[in-house]
């Protein structure tokens, strides 16, 4: 987990595998440096493959930005758990967090690149989703 206080849209990476999530975050950092708040989470609460809501909530907190947070997920449970986490956020934050329908690694790099230019949340989400559409 890591973050920055750039004011750009934050990026959260959620994978069933902590290694995939961390690796994708490494790729994002290489691309955009510390220009965007970034956090990753992966694995179930026992450390096995899976995702967990508490970990996702922590990652959102770590990558929090007033501009909002874009979440990139891999497979179904990561998406469902991320949407659950978003619904559990305080109301003033809930509307500023989106789950992107994009591949987790490529989407994270593209979303972060868009964010690093100061784009708003909707544009960050769109860029991740359109690149591979």
């Amino acid at each position: 987990m890591s973050s920055s206080n750039s004011g750009n849209v934050g990026i959260v990476i959620v994978s069933h595998s902590p290694k995939v999530a961390e690796g994708a975050a490494d790729m994002v950092r290489q691309m955009v440096g510390n220009a965007v708040p970034l956090a990753w989470t992966g694995g179930d609460v026992d450390g096995g493959l899976g995702t967990n809501v508490a970990g996702i909530l922590e990652a959102i907190e770590a990558a929090w930005s007033q501009a909002g947070v874009a979440i990139l997920v891999d497979l179904g449970g990561a998406e469902t758990n991320s949407e659950m986490a978003v619904d559990m956020l305080p109301e003033d934050r809930r509307t500023r967090v989106v789950v992107c329908n994009a591949p987790v690694v490529e989407g994270a790099v593209i979303a972060a690149t868009e964010s690093s230019g100061g784009s708003p949340l909707a544009a960050v989400k769109r860029s991740a989703e359109e690149f591979y559409a």
Binding site: D44, V45, D46, G48, L49, G50, T51, N52, V53, A54, L75, G76, G77, E79, T80, N81, E83, M84
Partner: protein, 204 residues
């Protein structure tokens, strides 16, 4: 329906026992068409629910159901955590401490609608909704405990020839046909455990 503290604890233990004793079977079902973690995930979730006893059963029924739901959301790990957890949480939100059948039917309707929204799914896609929706229909029509339990088991069986449209099994396309949906099986187990406990309470 009024459940005293002892009955609430029995209900929690019966639900957890049903899932935990069938964890290997649920995992086998999930290995056939999913990622093989359903039994382990549900077992972890219900072990955490059990660990919340005896305090959990001190809570009034609505609060107890909400707490079970939140525990499953936080502990299960797969998509089934938010799905099954949402069902319990919404049921708890909609029920009073002493619900009658009409109130229970209305609450279950709300809870099922919330599960559909959470999974962006509906009956017919080889998910737990293929048990929840037909069982709810029997409940709403006034079916007795035996009819409700029988429908839960039959509904899970009816997922065997279904093509998966949602969830990990949908990646298999037509190869998902011929296997029971693990989420439907665990949901049927939970319903049967709840019915058995409520019947024994009503008769005691």
């Amino acid at each position: 329906m009024s459940l005293d503290r002892e009955a609430r604890e029995k209900l929690v233990r019966a639900l957890a026992h049903a899932v935990i004793t069938h964890a290997d079977e649920l995992t086998s079902l999930d290995q056939a068409i999913g990622d093989g973690d359903h039994g382990l995930n549900m077992k972890r979730g219900f072990a955490a629910v059990l660990a919340a006893l005896p305090g959990l059963a001190d809570k009034p029924l609505p609060e107890m159901l909400k707490t079970i739901g939140m525990t499953l959301v936080m502990k299960v790990g797969g998509a089934s955590g938010p799905l099954v957890g949402t069902f319990f949480m919404e049921l708890g939100k909609a029920l009073s401490e002493t619900p009658g059948r009409a109130e229970f039917v209305a609450a279950a309707d709300k809870a099922i609608a919330a599960v559909k929204a959470r999974g962006r799914s509906d009956a017919g896609q080889k998910t737990l909704l293929d048990v929840l929706v037909p069982v709810q229909a029997v409940l709403a029509e006034g079916g007795d405990a035996a009819a409700i339990a029988a429908e839960a088991s039959r509904a899970a069986d009816r997922t065997i020839p279904m093509l998966a449209i949602r969830g990990r099994a949908s990646f298999l396309g037509e190869r998902s046909i011929g296997h029971m949906d693990p989420g439907s099986r665990s949901t049927a187990l939970l319903i049967n455990a709840a019915v058995a406990t409520l019947v024994s309470e009503a008769n005691s």
